[in-house]
């Protein structure tokens, strides 16, 4: 038995879910559609054209912003995921009362409103005399990447059979080799989704970035915000559509690779 109920039996669930998906994707459709607008104003359709894509590719400020954002997101999600991975392993080893405390503490970046974090972090960096730039951006992003990365890694760890680690030890694995040969491969699905989640969140952050970014580190959201200030042009849509394409490609790839790795 599959243990699955027939949802047709739950009144309204199916239609509501379909509506929700339509709701989620309508704006994306608009973003993509208007990226092909030949006119300069997002909302006024003036015909099909690829000019905005050409402009994306030609404009170095767009490229720079994308590049900064990607570098920050890669660095912060990598650092955040690594810290979260270690933390997840450490939390498992904690006594019962310790672990919820640690988890709660590591989740504080989720709980402190962004604006507070932004202002506080900037002032803090200034106090410490840190020069604002890539480093400060990565530091600030890493902080809020940790709780996002921690979530799926812990979930993965919880669903693992702890006996697998014991089996490895029983078969002669210890220390770093145990970590590399067993722990790491077992946690890969959790690590990948944690890193992806952290990556998205980092890529999308505006407020904190706006405060801690330095002279040469305008991120894409900061740049886009500026563009919108000035009057949005379909350039924004073209940038977003390209990013979306890359995203879907990456996600598809990770889904496919995840599939053959996935036990059972």
């Amino acid at each position: 038995m599959t243990g699955q109920a027939d949802t047709r039996r739950y009144p309204g669930i199916g239609p509501a879910a379909r509506l929700a998906f339509a709701f989620l994707y309508a704006p994306l459709a608009v973003v993509v559609a208007y990226s092909f607008n030949s006119g300069p104003i997002v909302s006024r359709w003036e015909g099909f054209s690829l000019v905005w894509y050409r402009e994306v590719l030609e404009r170095s400020d767009v490229r720079d912003a994308v590049w900064v954002s990607l570098r920050v997101a890669v660095a912060a999600s990598a650092a955040g995921t690594a810290l979260a991975l270690l933390a997840a392993l450490g939390i498992v080893a904690m006594v019962r009362r310790g672990s919820p405390l640690a988890v709660g503490f590591l989740s504080t970046p989720l709980l402190v409103p962004e604006i507070v974090t932004a202002v506080g972090t900037l002032s803090f960096f200034v106090l410490l005399d840190f020069e604002r730039g890539m480093t400060t951006l990565v530091l600030a992003h890493t902080a809020f990447c940790i709780p996002f990365a921690l979530l799926p890694i812990r979930a993965r760890l919880a669903e693992l059979d702890p006996a697998v680690f014991e089996a490895a030890s029983d078969l002669g694995a210890s220390g770093f080799r145990l970590f590399r040969r067993v722990t790491l491969p077992l946690l890969v699905p959790g690590i990948v989704s944690g890193a992806l989640l952290a990556f998205i969140i980092s890529l999308d952050d505006y407020l904190i970035s706006a405060f801690v970014a330095g002279p040469t580190s305008t991120t894409l959201p900061i740049f886009l915000f500026g563009l919108i200030r000035r009057g949005a042009s379909p350039l924004i849509n073209a940038v977003s559509t390209l990013l979306l394409l890359v995203t879907v490609a990456v996600l598809t790839a990770s889904y496919i690779t995840g599939k053959w790795r996935k036990p059972k």
Partner: protein, 290 residues
């Protein structure tokens, strides 16, 4: 058997202590200072003026008294967050349950599908809503074509809510899905078998079973929603000031850093209270379920 020692958590704990603790201490410190010269930064003196300004004012006629202007901003942020949470729940609950009822191999794809919109900048997504909702936009034109005249949508509270729900919906769907995925559908069948109609099963069996997910989802939506500012600005016509804007304003045009810090602390206190209350609710849910 341990796969590591608890010391492995210390780098992350240390980092968070540094990156969250540090700024928080600075904020508290700022809130207790006098204003800097010209209102820029903070000065050297110590004062609780900033906190006083939260509730006391000298009005334009010169009377000193209780003033709720700023507290009202806080309150309307809370209301907006609550409304967002409720609507997101109304949309997210069926969605999560529906996904958990799809064939196993489709579920991860559908969950992914919920998160894909996240990959475009929140600004762009919100902007797309402006395009959709404006009077000359596709929605209005579509209805217009079939002879239905929609009321104005953009720059209304409704539009704000749409944008907020849109932004935070995945935070609601994912935890509820996590709970629903673990839900044993056989107990729903037991309900049917015992004479409960599907609607009753949904209400009396599915709902309480996924409640921990609901609590988690509500928190994950409510808390960041209190600090939201983009959607009321861009979609709501900017006519209702939110606490985040107010804080930003203090660090910007109003040049009152101590007051901005005090507002930030007020916001933190509100969030903490919510968490404490919700923790109790979450614990209840856990006790009943385990």
């Amino acid at each position: 058997m341990r796969v590591g020692t608890r010391w492995l958590a210390s780098p992350a704990l240390g980092f968070i202590a540094f990156m969250v603790g540090g700024p928080m201490v600075v904020i508290v410190w700022y809130s207790l200072r006098t204003r800097g010269p010209g209102g820029v930064g903070v000065g050297d003196g110590l004062t609780v003026d900033a906190y006083e300004r939260l509730v006391v004012t000298e009005d334009f006629a010169g009377n000193v008294g209780f003033d709720s202007t700023y507290l009202e901003v806080m309150w309307s942020s809370i209301l907006l967050a609550a409304a967002t949470m409720l609507v997101a729940l109304a949309v997210g609950f069926p969605t999560a349950v529906w996904i958990s009822n799809r064939p196993r191999h489709l579920q991860p794809l559908l969950v992914l599908a919920v998160t894909i919109p996240f990959w475009t900048s929140i600004l762009v997504r919100t902007y797309a809503w402006i395009v959709i909702l404006r009077e000359t936009g596709p929605l209005a034109s579509g209805f217009d074509a079939v002879g239905i005249d929609l009321p104005r949508m953009l720059n209304t509270r409704g539009a704000t809510l749409v944008g907020m729900v849109y932004t935070f919906l995945p935070f609601m769907v994912l935890p509820i899905y996590a709970a629903a995925e673990r839900f044993d559908h056989r107990i729903a069948e037991a309900g049917l078998d015992l004479g409960a109609t599907p609607a009753v099963v949904l209400r009396k069996i599915v709902w309480p079973s996924v409640r921990p997910g609901v609590v988690a989802g509500c928190l994950l939506v409510f808390i960041p929603a209190i600090g939201a500012f983009l959607q009321p600005e861009l979609l709501g016509g900017g006519r209702s000031l939110m606490i985040a804007n107010l804080i930003q304003q203090q660090f910007g045009a109003s040049r009152n850093w101590p007051f901005g810090s005090a507002l930030a602390i007020l916001l933190l206190v509100v969030v903490t209270v919510v968490l404490v209350v919700a923790r109790r609710a979450a614990r209840e849910a856990r006790v009943v379920l385990s």
